[in-house]
Symmetry: C2
Subunit: 394 residues, 2 copies
């Protein structure tokens, strides 16, 4: 499958990005990043629902409702997860010193970590680097920032869109990282998205929560959810449109579409960088009881090891039926149908014996797969994205 | 890891077993089996909760509450799953002809299939073989029957115990099959268990439902649940004890223990035969909110691909924490502890830096692993059993 190239990011007022080498795990590379936001920037976020979430996630969950941000600090190489109370103390120290540096309340500082779980996190390394980190920030420094958070990633991952609100041009730029432990529950991996739109935090959060269910929450690689999944969405308010006060405002329509495009692009870039995987697989589930049911059925198929092995053998059908059945959502066993590249291969609950097997096999042996499943219950639909087996399967 | 040898099965009055070759998928081997039970035999059963269950499962779910059985017919090589309405018609024809042959109501005939999903099931093959199949049955024909249901199994799987009820000797014999799609939801694979105890169906069902949650529902290989999982428990009533009328009867205590032993033995034999797996892994979860929560946490760890890969690398700890967190059950992040072979490796929410790493690594590199996780919430505990990666991961 094709990996996605890092795009040309449009300039975006109100954001400065910087990175330095702090050496927690890597040598001779940037591994600590800061986003510096102008006063008045709104923030929304989604975080892993893991019950064993990393220390920085606990801080962000607690403070995101404040809705204001002056800086985000993130490191790669150590997840600060399963680091006990010490890990949390380090987060508090980082936040306190960054707040002093920025001259803002602590609750306007957000943090994220990615890397190994269960490795002691050094207490002073990040706090001590903050002054140099702040000095490194500059405008339009996107690629530097995206590279600083890479761990097992083979490529930096980003997306950019320009759109308009009420006639005024608006930009959305985002980047993310991740190749493993990809099975999001509210978000996945580390992701930083910025816009110059003038949208308050409550409206941003509503938009984000809606869109995340159709993007990040529709990807899976091996079905395992990380302890550190975080996505931040910051709006600097520098665009020249009138203030928006409701997520239902029709002037937000094209912005919402552009935001969904950005999130989907980064989510796809993550799937396409899954270590060792060869196929990018889109699975569209229709006929489910609801969109949520369709997504659950899709993810059940997409995260099944046996289905993945079946995809490599170009014969996933029986295993897909198994995965539909096991997830607990309603399905009409005797009305199920399935397609590959639009070709009907199963209908009325059994495999057809006269479908174009040559065309279907050619499609399944390719690297970009489009599979469809209709479960014959209602009108719920969802598309999810996954890979065939990855190197993580040993 | 060691595979379990087929045991010496004790004689058991009231059961005759037989097998013939019907050639649905295999050549020159027995692949169709019948258990013939004497009039008055009680039956209980557990079946996959899959929403796309195979045709024979639908029949059994509908009729198990009748509580009486004269024959069970099972074939290997074709699961009769995803075979649409035709598959169900074949089941009805098999049941009707077997009922005529046995001179009993149809609802006293049970059926099971195992093998490929989505392959058309021949309508007449099994019904036509029934007279020869019935002629083949004889007492104490256990190994023949256990072999007739094998598919990807490398060894036949069985277990036997003798115990007593109210002073009278009682025997329990069982056999099962399965190496793939092992993640039970009420039962797994095909399993046939017989006893000469005199226990009515309702009591049998209560005992079975309780024990299944501590045996079959505690094993997983790759987290995928089959469309055909079935376990039948038949009681011929030939033992010389007084009738039992309640599952709470204290005279059942040693019988319940023996039954749990038989079910656990067969469940373990299935895990130990997982294709390509090298390690048999027992994971004991303690400190959970309830036994059910402990089981869910255990299965979340046991079915995680990344944990399995971590086991092969003798470093599963961070991934185990991830799996505890993702399953949604309550866990105290800062009180978590973990053990390997009884050695404490993590405590108070972080990895210890002074545990006996040499001993732990030696244990993890072995083939019989005992891991412990305490989640620091309550008194719920459960042990689950799994493998490292299997060949199914491709």
């Amino acid at each position: 499958m094709e990996k996605l190239a890092f795009p040309n990011m449009k300039p975006l007022a109100g954001v400065k990005l910087g990175a330095v080498a702090c050496g927690i795990n890597y040598k001779d590379r940037h591994d600590l990043f800061m986003a510096e936001l102008e006063p008045g920037t709104a923030i929304a976020g989604v975080f892993t629902r893991s019950r064993t979430a990393a220390a920085p996630v606990l801080w962000c969950r607690e403070n995101i409702a404040g809705g204001r941000v002056r800086a985000i600090v993130a490191n790669a190489g150590n997840a600060n997860a399963f680091t006990g109370r010490h890990g949390m103390e380090t987060v508090r120290e980082t936040v306190a010193r960054a707040a002093t540096l920025m001259g803002c309340p602590r609750k306007q500082i957000f943090v994220a970590s990615t890397g190994s779980i269960g490795v002691p996190f050094p207490a002073e390394t990040i706090p001590d680097k903050l002054p140099a980190l702040k000095k490194s920030t500059k405008r339009d420094n996107w690629l530097t920032a995206a590279k600083a958070i890479m761990t097992t990633d083979s490529v930096p991952k980003g997306a950019s869109r320009t759109t308009e609100i009420d006639g005024a041009p608006v930009t959305i730029n985002g980047f993310g990282k991740g190749t493993q432990m990809i099975s999001p529950d509210m978000a996945t991996t580390l992701n930083f998205v910025f816009t110059d739109a003038k949208i308050p935090a409550t409206v941003l959060q509503k938009l984000l929560s809606r869109i995340i269910d159709r993007t990040y929450n529709c990807i899976t690689v091996e079905g395992d959810t990380s302890t550190n999944d975080s996505l931040f969405l910051c709006a600097t308010g520098k665009a020249k449109h009138a203030r928006i006060t409701s997520a239902a405002d029709p002037r937000l329509r094209s912005f919402a579409t552009a935001l969904e495009d950005v999130l989907r692009d980064i989510a796809h870039a993550i799937v396409r960088d899954a270590a060792g995987a060869k196929k990018f697989v889109a699975i569209t589930v229709t006929g489910a009881a609801s969109a949520r049911a369709a997504r659950r059925i899709g993810l059940s198929i997409a995260s099944s090891t046996l289905v993945k092995v079946g995809l490599r053998a170009a014969n996933p059908w029986g295993r897909m039926i198994m995965a539909v059945g096991k997830c607990g959502e309603r399905a009409n066993r005797d009305e199920l149908s399935m397609t590959a590249d639009g070709v009907l291969v199963a209908s009325s609950g059994y495999l057809l014996d006269d479908f174009d097997a040559k065309r279907v096999t050619r499609h399944l042996k390719g690297t970009e797969l489009n599979l469809g499943v209709d479960v014959g219950i209602g009108r719920g639909r969802a598309t999810v994205w996954t890979t065939d087996c990855s190197v993580g399967y040993g």
